[in-house]
Symmetry: C2
Subunit: 334 residues, 2 copies
Amino acid sequence: MQAARARQDTLTKPQGSLGRLEELSIQLAGIYAQPIPSIREKAVIVMAGDHGVVAEGVSAFPQEVTPQMVLNFLNGGAAINVLARCAGARVVIVDIGVAAELPEHPRLHRRKLAFGTGNIAQGPAMTRAQAEQAIQTGIEVVEAEIQRGLDAVATGEMGIGNTTPSAAIAAVLTGQPASQIAGRGTGLDDAGLERKIAVIERALSVNQPNPQDGLDVLSKVGGFEIGGLAGVMIGAASHRKAVLVDGFISTAAAMIAISLCPDVKPYLIAAHRSRENGHGLMLDWLGLKPLLDFDLRLGEGTGAALAFPILQAALAILREMATFGEAGVSEKAR
Amino acid sequence: MQAARARQDTLTKPQGSLGRLEELSIQLAGIYAQPIPSIREKAVIVMAGDHGVVAEGVSAFPQEVTPQMVLNFLNGGAAINVLARCAGARVVIVDIGVAAELPEHPRLHRRKLAFGTGNIAQGPAMTRAQAEQAIQTGIEVVEAEIQRGLDAVATGEMGIGNTTPSAAIAAVLTGQPASQIAGRGTGLDDAGLERKIAVIERALSVNQPNPQDGLDVLSKVGGFEIGGLAGVMIGAASHRKAVLVDGFISTAAAMIAISLCPDVKPYLIAAHRSRENGHGLMLDWLGLKPLLDFDLRLGEGTGAALAFPILQAALAILREMATFGEAGVSEKAR
């Protein structure tokens, strides 16, 4: 990081004038432990799972949309397929807990832990052993990609209802009330939002998750795809790979990852600030400053895929710009 | 635009969930008058000029840096070269008023109107005829690129001292005091900033630019590259091409363009909010909401080049995503 900072200061521009691009290049130098790192192979890992809590009417879309969207991902027609193509990233799709039988498909990783979580308004989402398995699954999926040459990963997810467990996780870990965190998800009206807040409050009261124990929080009020993404982050960081964290659900996964393993933090890059209500509070809790602010609220990894070109631009600056000496440009008067 | 909006609402995502990407795709549909437009050929037009006002000590870098940086652009070593390459855009470099003889070079457009402007602290920057010529030059340069197939243009500039005339233009047109607009440019200290504010106040008092007359403002307190970029914007808009407006200086050029021709406005896309002090006020005056906020303060078109991939992502969403019907995905419960 010191070498990258020193090089930035010799390039033909006023020092610091590329702002966050410079900061990002220095963070990436630290992540890869190289003064001028490169990112070539990129993937968006999309974890899909369902949520028993949809029985409480917390989503504007029916649960059948989860497997339908997985098929859409496999056919290349979803937003994440389009944005990953734009960024030159592949899409890795994992069924970690969809509440429907999905067909065999060469691009689908079938790692289902259960047909959806339990209804957190009535009991735990999953057992502690399942929470460990979810994280382990994420680690294994990202390690397989790293073995294939992956340099950087973006996190994405699909799961009707998954803003509810994400908001529950955020409420437990930040200590903020559910009303400050929960948002409209895919499009709840006012009554739907009120109901969702009440459901989250009930889930916290029924399950009493322990904020000092990330695995307890995940098992009590989490989701399989959220645990899987926490595993992706832990696995990527342990191999010194950058992680682009997408929006609300991915950020809840990052909170679980950091609860379990604070050393993951410097490997995380927040791609964007979502329109979902409490996302800013969650980013603040993590100490992450998002790159983009586009009012996105889709998930799937869309905001993270959008940010890949910014990472590559930051590294291209470090690698390709001429220094004052090379270009024969006069430096600032002192 | 209506067709693009209607199509966005049939794509497999909650309506509006791609936020600014959706808005941008609809704006671009309007710009190109096509329901699903494409952007293939891209260029950053970099206008270079010098400023007599540097005699007042308003810049941290010496004036010789302007021609040195033009050579750096021609050799491909500057930040704008790197970021334009990342975006797949060519760089078009125009000497419209550098205060030095520049060599012939196949990639340099030699359209010098004078060896720098007059010192605006003592009199006008240029004659009214020169201001017209600067705008005409910009129109001609962008029209030549459009004839070569250009689909979208980003604006960039180089000119030691050019935040001073830009701040003067912004002060005249917004009616705000110079102290609210002027910033540290390439790196002034507190005393330098005080001096710069006093110089801008003197320039306004000596020249009395008429805020109702954009050409008067440009000729009294502007710059050749600023007029050239205003011409690029007017020329691009008149051919229905999108314009990515870079930072502080490009935004001052946009203010001149809009003063002369308000119909240019819908063709402008503000790429980013610069760290330079008054940039937010200028964007508000224009009614433009920037895409990025990266604390950039380099100019050259760097922020605009960074935003090209976002435009292309917005259009790819419109073109490539599956509809609910095509993908067999259930729509929101009503």
